[in-house]
Symmetry: C2
Subunit: 175 residues, 2 copies
DNA sequence: CGTAGTTGCTTCGAATCCGAAGCACATTGT
DNA sequence: ACAATGTGCTTCGGATTCGAAGCAACTACG
């Protein structure tokens, strides 16, 4: 509310840049592996993996969107793409007439299994190779906290679908 | 070459997911702020910031591409976009007839200055708020090492421009 | 000098992504 | 039951992305 604008020191800048760069590089590498091994985009892999993780192999769209950092529309797009390939199925939720339940198919699991070893290998080579055990532990701990914090504090996005009237008048709008 | 395929333990998975999620969330948040504050995409901001960092305010395209994790074509696109808005200028390198030197304009610097405080604020709120000083230091240290390692080891991308002959016949291409 | 291979950047086509708007079902209050 | 509001997902339009192919300028080497 009142924290004065301050600049970042060198360490903070370093952490920020390293975070962005490292994740970008890793993501690019993984994306390439996924494309070659199973013709999957990163999101598609994330979706399949999330579904495979579930005991029933299925989730609702919204839960998926929560798990992956993705826009709803992007999720719809990828779910449709995966469905066309027969890697997932989409069925109406029995509970909620407008809810869609996405389920990974046998073929989806097969593709997942096909891709996974290479995926792990990339992570080993690129991310974990230069890190010690305690590095990995520290990374997991620190970044988990950061992630949880960010999930709780949607910065100014995730608006309630339409700034509820004028309650959001933070004086931020332009023009 | 011979490391047997192994699975990742819980900590490693945690570190990996936390890295991807945290960076995604942060990037999304920052992107939104940049769009609202200065109508810049993340890459555009990175480019301007990189240029602003340089003493002369200019760099060659290739050096820019190295600094940012980006495809060449994407860089060309964004440089053109920024040029149309008058935030950068592109001139032929005197040295190399085919080299392009990109220079940030006064207006580009203005936009940068306009956007920067909000940018820092977001980082403070979302990334640094839940972290201690030593967390930040550890993060900077660990991720810098990871990043440097990845930069040195292009996984299988960054091919010498055309897989030298048929050396890459892994039998993976589909039809 | 001339030819071959490299390197810097752009163009091209297609895929992917997002936010805003829209539609349909659900829930709540009266 | 009805209206008002909230929620789940999709559609739409446009922006951004990438890899592959292409063009032009450099470099090496005979």
């Amino acid at each position: 509310m009142s924290s004065p604008p301050r600049s970042l020191d060198e360490t903070e800048l370093g952490a920020y840049f390293a975070l962005i760069e490292a994740s970008s590089l890793l993501k690019h590498a993984v994306e390439e592996q996924l494309r070659e091994a199973g013709d999957l985009s990163y999101v598609q892999f994330q979706l399949l993996a999330t579904l495979g993780d579930s005991p029933t192999g299925s989730r609702r769209m919204t839960d998926l969107a929560d798990g992956v950092v993705y826009s709803r529309s992007g999720l719809t797009y990828q779910a449709q793409t995966l469905e066309k390939r027969g890697l997932v199925e989409r069925t109406q939720s029995s509970d909620d007439e407008r809810g869609i339940t996405v389920t990974v198919t046998a073929e989806g699991r097969a593709v997942l299994a096909d891709v996974f070893p290479g995926h792990v290998a990339i992570l080993d080579e690129l991310l974990f190779a230069p890190l010690s055990r305690s590095d990995v532990e520290a990374l997991a701990d620190i970044l988990s906290r950061a992630r949880d914090h960010m999930r709780q504090n949607p910065p100014r996005s995730a608006k309630p679908r339409r700034r509820r009237k004028a309650a959001a008048g933070t004086g931020r709008e332009r023009t």
